[in-house]
Symmetry: C2
Subunit: 253 residues, 2 copies
């Protein structure tokens, strides 16, 4: 794989995002796992301790990845600019997202990487990702495991995904080229915010419990992988609906 | 996967063999990686330190695998009774064995597990397996990796193989059933010993340098996966050749 190959380009666009990691040793082991498979882009969402000597020690000769790691305050910051994000969870907690195997997720990640930055999001060691965190991703990726003992070490899980991503990247030249422009994470989040506002304004959702419906909306749009143009169209529709609602209110008063 | 399923049966027959492991923490992390994928049979060939508190700590709740681990003095002891063994190496050092990807190796391991115990053999952390160790195995399995940084952590490599083995085991019911009886490791090793003795006796190999030819013989027979009956036939041929050589020597003297 040369640096300029489509495979290398795809690998360059993959961010590994670690959320609230407890043990700095795990961050180092993740860096090593990433580098063995040609991944380099590490994002750390409020790690408990970083930088740290344990991270350096476990990274072996992959400390360049630690040096270049970006520490973020929030998951949104780590996902800024991405067009696709897979959330790694041991099981589907909320049933709101499609669940892929690591192999399927890797194929999608590499495919979407042709359109922009993509992310694999890993939760903290003990508890995994929260439902709101999973909801910010496009898909759930779940490692098949022993039902009686499914708790992979964080770095082992990243190793496995990175391996599948590398294998998928080696196939990348065979993928059909797609031409549409994907909506970024921020654009889709702005759509959700706009949608919630509009649905409240037209009286479609209960202002006391808007979350349930919004989760269903996220589930729907996560499946379709929105294009930028589609986001613009949807927001145009929402604007129209809001105008009508406002006009109606004005007539009433 | 229920305990009695063909997949569970296949997983039960897979031994993970760690040769000369330096760090007990890695042994513990391997036990955890194995258990997440439903593997349980761990063999340790002269580990530097075992048992050890670091192994217990890294095993998390997989200490049952450490408790049941078998410590062996030699690789031969760990391979006793096996019908197939894959040697994990970063690259093909001696070019004497076929080299499979982890996916291909996992498929073969699971297929051969229908005939008897099988093994995945891992070398020590820094140096990997020696050529004589690789020569005792049926095949080389090599993890595709970044050519500039291919050194996976031992437990990460086991995690990856165990994952592929689990996926392969889930396909096991679809495999064609094979009926021949596979030769065990000991039977094949006895054939090699017999072959070397016979080839020396008939004057085919140079007594000062018998190893080179024997390595080529190992390469050949590792590829064909001998049946027990075939080993018996070959050893019968060797016996005949030896008798003729002895008779010829007697006539000379």
């Amino acid at each position: 794989m040369s640096d300029a190959s489509p495979a290398a380009n795809a690998l360059e666009r993959v961010r590994i995002v670690l959320c609230h990691t407890s043990l700095p040793a795990n961050i180092g082991a993740v860096a090593r796992a990433m580098k063995t498979m040609g991944l380099a882009s590490l994002y750390l969402v409020s790690p408990k301790q970083f930088p740290h000597a344990d991270a350096e020690a476990l990274a072996s000769r992959a400390t360049d990845i630690l040096d270049a790691a970006r520490v973020c305050a929030t998951l949104d910051e780590a996902l800024a600019g991405t067009v696709y994000a897979a959330a790694s969870t041991a099981r589907n907690r909320d049933m709101s997202h499609p669940v892929l195997t690591p192999r399927e997720a890797a194929a999608r990640i590499v495919e979407e990487a042709q359109r922009g930055p993509v992310a694999l999001v890993m939760g903290p060691e003990k508890f995994g990702l929260t439902v709101p965190e999973v909801n910010r991703c496009s898909v759930i990726a779940s490692i098949p495991a022993n039902p009686d003992y499914s708790s992979l070490n964080l770095a082992a899980a990243v190793q496995l995904f990175a391996y599948e991503i590398r294998l998928a990247a080696e196939q990348v030249e065979r993928l059909p080229q797609q031409t549409f422009e994907a909506a970024t994470f921020e654009e889709v989040e702005m759509l959700y915010a706009h949608l919630e506002e509009a649905l409240l304004e037209i009286g479609f959702i209960n202002p006391k419990e808007p979350k349930r419906l919004m989760q269903r909306m996220r589930r729907l749009f996560a499946r379709v992988r929105l294009e930028r143009e589609e986001v613009n169209i949807l927001r145009g529709i929402l604007n129209m609906a809001q105008e009508h609602a406002r006009a109606a209110r004005r007539q009433k008063s």
